[in-house]
Amino acid sequence: MNAPDRYERFVVPEGTKKVSFEKDTKIMNAASFTIEREDHTIGNILRMQLHRDPNVLFAGYKLPHPLQYKIIVRIHTASQSSPTQAYNQAINDLDSELENLKQAFEDEKNRFEERKQPY
């Protein structure tokens, strides 16, 4: 009767921001990003991509509660970079990796079909 709608798991409520971030008050170049309606799928690829950046001193994510549909990504960088810069770079890199992967799949499908018909 009073169960929440199923779509609440993946639809960002009106008036809520998809991504918000808060700078750490004590540490320089550290910040927490709250991403609404996302889970391990985004959290883990972001974290792993951030680890590839040598300017990132710390990157981690948590899903605070299974019924709170949000993740928190925490980033701490060296002074040459900033959490927002590292965050943006990680997304750009992941996006181009996937763009590449799609092309790789399409090319490989063509090659596969040629291999299938050797005459």
């Binding site: 991509q49 900033s82 996006d95 990796e97 996937l98 763009e99 590449n100 499908k109 596969f112």
Partner: protein, 330 residues
């Protein structure tokens, strides 16, 4: 400190090799990326690639033994051809309608009418009795029977037209009747599992198996046989000519450590070394038939990119230090 300047790309360039590709099945190797990417793709394929499924049922008449909700639930689980789902709208954000099924952008209407008249035989009402108002969206069995009839079926599909008997919805005895109108909508499996296009999606790390040949040669044939047989899956065998232990199926290894324990028990530690290649994966993808395995993979990549795009910081978020990326400064 040796740190590179900010704004440098740490992008990877994954490689793919397809081993098998059928309409509803694919097996491929994914290399030069990590487990987080492999797992994200797996998760998106299972729960976030959209399909079309029956979501609203108006029962006009039901005198069958199953109640209305039971039948509505069964209708929802029937896989419908969903190649066009990526281009459809979710009813929830369709501004052309209120999601009642009259709208071509977000829904497809189905009709079903069946009445048992034969006294001696129960009537089986199946997915083949569903009549779609859109030829692109219909139960997968109907689509397969049609493709076979016009000769465009998957050449590796060995089923015959008579195999497409449809999915049983309910059985009717004489005098019983089922009449209904159903609306199919676009959705994702995060909402309800009926929208999942995936039957199974799995990946495994490619194992790297190294036999210490020198140590292996100190074993007698009986010892080799006993060691080979200690593996629960058939990973190794003995070459009948050279009597050497060979790897026959690397990927049959289940990371069970049995052969390693056996080598230790035989007093030959280091006889075998097995590690997982952390950047190589073997994927197995099976679909329900709603979309092809290839479509599932490609759509998963597209959906994951859309998700990444949605989590980008907006300029008004303040303290936007990623500005140089926009100016093209590397």
């Amino acid at each position: 400190m040796d740190r590179s300047a900010a704004g440098v790309s740490y992008q990877r360039f994954p490689r793919v090799r397809i081993r098998e590709l059928k309409d509803d099945y694919a097996k491929f190797e994914l290399r030069d990326t990590d487990a987080s990417m492999a797992n994200a793709l797996r998760r998106v394929m299972i729960a976030e690639v959209p399909t079309v499924a029956i979501d609203l049922v108006e029962i006009e008449s039901n005198s069958s033994v199953l109640n209305d909700e039971f039948i509505a639930h069964r209708l929802g689980l029937i896989p419908l051809t969903s190649s066009g789902a990526m281009g459809m709208r979710f009813s929830r954000d369709c501004d052309a309608c209120d999601g009642d099924g009259s709208c071509e952008h977000c829904s497809v209407e189905f009709h079903l009418a069946a009445r048992a008249t034969d006294a001696n035989k129960t009537l089986e009402v199946t997915s083949n009795d569903l009549r779609s108002t859109d030829p692109k969206v219909c139960p997968v069995d109907q689509a397969m029977a049609y493709q076979q009839a016009i000769g465009t079926a998957d050449p590796y599909d060995t089923s015959t037209a008579s195999d497409h008997r449809g999915i049983l919805i309910v059985k009717l005895r004489r005098g019983q009747e089922l009449r209904l109108r159903a609306i199919a909508r676009k959705g994702i499996a995060k909402d309800h599992a009926k929208w999942s296009p995936a039957a199974t999606v799995t990946f495994m790390y490619e194992p790297d198996i190294r036999i210490n040949e020198e140590l292996m040669e100190t074993l007698t044939l009986e010892e080799k046989t006993s060691w080979v047989e200690s593996s629960p899956t058939k990973v190794f065998d003995i070459d009948p000519n050279t009597q050497q232990v060979v790897v026959v199926d690397r990927e049959a290894y289940t990371y069970d450590d049995e052969v390693i324990k056996k080598a230790e028990a035989m007093g030959k530690p280091g006889l075998i070394e097995i590690s997982a290649k952390e950047d190589s994966f073997v994927f197995t993808v099976e679909t329900t038939g709603a979309i092809t395995a290839y479509e599932l993979i490609i759509n998963a990549i597209t959906v994951l990119r859309q998700k990444l795009d949605a989590v980008r910081l907006q300029e008004e978020d303040g303290d936007f230090t990623g500005l140089d990326a926009h100016l093209g400064v590397a």
